[in-house]
Symmetry: none
Subunit: 151 residues, 2 copies
Amino acid sequence: MALFLSTHINKVDKKGRVSVPSQFRDQLSGEQFSGIVLFRSNTQPALEGFAWSYMQEISRRLENFDLFSEAQDDLAMTVFGDSVQLAFDGEGRVVLPVELMEFAGVVEKAAFVGLGNKFQIWDADILARRREDARRNVRERGLTLPKGDAQ
Amino acid sequence: MALFLSTHINKVDKKGRVSVPSQFRDQLSGEQFSGIVLFRSNTQPALEGFAWSYMQEISRRLENFDLFSEAQDDLAMTVFGDSVQLAFDGEGRVVLPVELMEFAGVVEKAAFVGLGNKFQIWDADILARRREDARRNVRERGLTLPKGDAQ
DNA sequence: CAAAAACCCATGCTATCCCATAAATATCCA
DNA sequence: TGGATATTTATGGGATAGCATGGGTTTTTG
């Protein structure tokens, strides 16, 4: 199982290519499909990234729904129909489709954020501001983690 | 097992031919039958697309019904009786039968939507609306995948 | 024999491949 | 340990192959 950690910022060239961080690529080395799967985040201006095998796992879970059921179709349509698979080139890059770049507001620098078994791609500037806001909120409101809470 | 991802929009020429997306063809490369199986959706103005081998899985699932039951006969009738197998030509295209094109309202642009182990073919314009519905359904009904969420 | 289906070839576009360079990191050896 | 050398990354750009598309020609088949 892949484990994505840390944040890496890489440049997007004029062809829309961007290097996937080598640490991430190492995590994906055993995959049948040499590349990544992306789709739009439902909650943030960012892209969600997965390993091909993770999509197989999701597909397997969908098998638990009745074939042709409305629930299965709705889920599959939003999860699979909205995704894109991007293969690595010889140098470990992928080309980001323009629609996805626009969705996430990616201009020049793409930030790869490791989140365990998935990762996110942000525009580097947007992410920096987002993090600043989060920090300020925590400070100003004195947010802390309740003891004993898993969250 | 084939895994169909993403949405590809291809043009239908005046002979009724349309290119099956190469990513989909790759998923079908191991099949005995070099082509796809199509039939009308029971619930939507769309065509259901499968790999030849997956029809066996559908057959297996039909076994769960009582033999000779009305429900089994009805399903078998709409799935197997209504299905067509379309072979690829040398360029990876299939010819969409006019009845199926009319059923799905396909005019000029056919949208191939990957849904995991199956895919659907929509008229590109109609699909845009359907996608809105699917998103809303997932959101309002709080649909998630069993044992952990894909998000 | 006629209509339709399958087959074959041509083309523009785009994605992919391939090579080159620079920067960063790692490795080696005195 | 420090400095020199090798290796891996990230990046850039030109060449190439594959894909989607179109149209013609042959081969079925009713």
